[in-house]
Symmetry: C2
Subunit: 207 residues, 2 copies
Amino acid sequence: VDVSGLHVLIDPGRVPSRRLGAFLPAIAQAGARVVQIRIKEGSTRSALAYAQEAVQYARRAGLVVVVDDRVDWALAVGADGVHVGQDDMPVALVRRIAPGLLVGASAGTPAELTAALADGPDYIGVGPVFPTSSKADAGDPLGIDGLRSLLRLAAPVPVVAIGGITPANAAAVWAVGVAGIAVIAAVAEAADPAAAVRALLAAKPTP
Amino acid sequence: VDVSGLHVLIDPGRVPSRRLGAFLPAIAQAGARVVQIRIKEGSTRSALAYAQEAVQYARRAGLVVVVDDRVDWALAVGADGVHVGQDDMPVALVRRIAPGLLVGASAGTPAELTAALADGPDYIGVGPVFPTSSKADAGDPLGIDGLRSLLRLAAPVPVVAIGGITPANAAAVWAVGVAGIAVIAAVAEAADPAAAVRALLAAKPTP
């Protein structure tokens, strides 16, 4: 599964279930590659209902589906993968209980990156690149230089940059050579999500 | 796997990890059958560390291990089963992603019980029998008569009664004919957990 390109994170707060049927085809057609379902509130029952609906629309739209943190939800809704942070299940354990899932890990420092790489994830989410208000426990921003150092350490594992990335600053992030960019607010809170996806992708330098 | 008998619920707040090595053999030797790990706070990483340690001691002591709610944790630590409440993953989905696990479901009303039974759980946790302060979102107490009605509806699926059960009121609960009793405070908060287990089991009428 190719996880390069644009990852769009969604949750029931920013993209309510009634909007999924318009939102997911629109971002897919605009060029998004991966949708990550990240639910931190509410019951498992309501999260599963949301994720199951999202997976149906995402499949039809050709999007890769990743579930944040919850390996059981990823398995239950038939997602392609799971993304685990520093406090979530270690990648090696995810592999053991869910050998078919794509596994992404998170890192925000060289030490975290080294630890994450030892487990052999399929990709690494690196960030926050810029200040972000979408994730309360995000660490200090790396900046473009910090991102570049971590990208070198991560090679050849694909890096997906995350944290405060917008159409206005995306060109500098792509220019570092990341495999992908992940966004929360820039697309899920945009008045025109498809236009935001196009702008984030248009910022990528042509090779 | 036999789930009749006494279920003891533990969590890192009531039985910290440093106490597991004494607590679990003690309750096993006193006659407890099942330990249920129920963690509602903290990170997945810390919950997994606790559950992994509990599983090791429980195995050595011959206790059946059930994990509350989290199917991924149950799989990751090699538990025998998972217990799912009304807001957790439906039993049918648990069966699909974790066919080897024993699955318990919860019910507190006839409607919940009928819905839970339709999914074919291995046992049903019925409660709260009495008022409880250990579970914030527990419903109204069933009382002994309410428990008796639900037990009849559940047959032949084994019923494990839960909620406010103590050595002082356990005889009335056993007398209804439940397969098991589950306790939180009565053992995990007891000064002498083994003595509490013996008292809860001694309350069972000899057949």
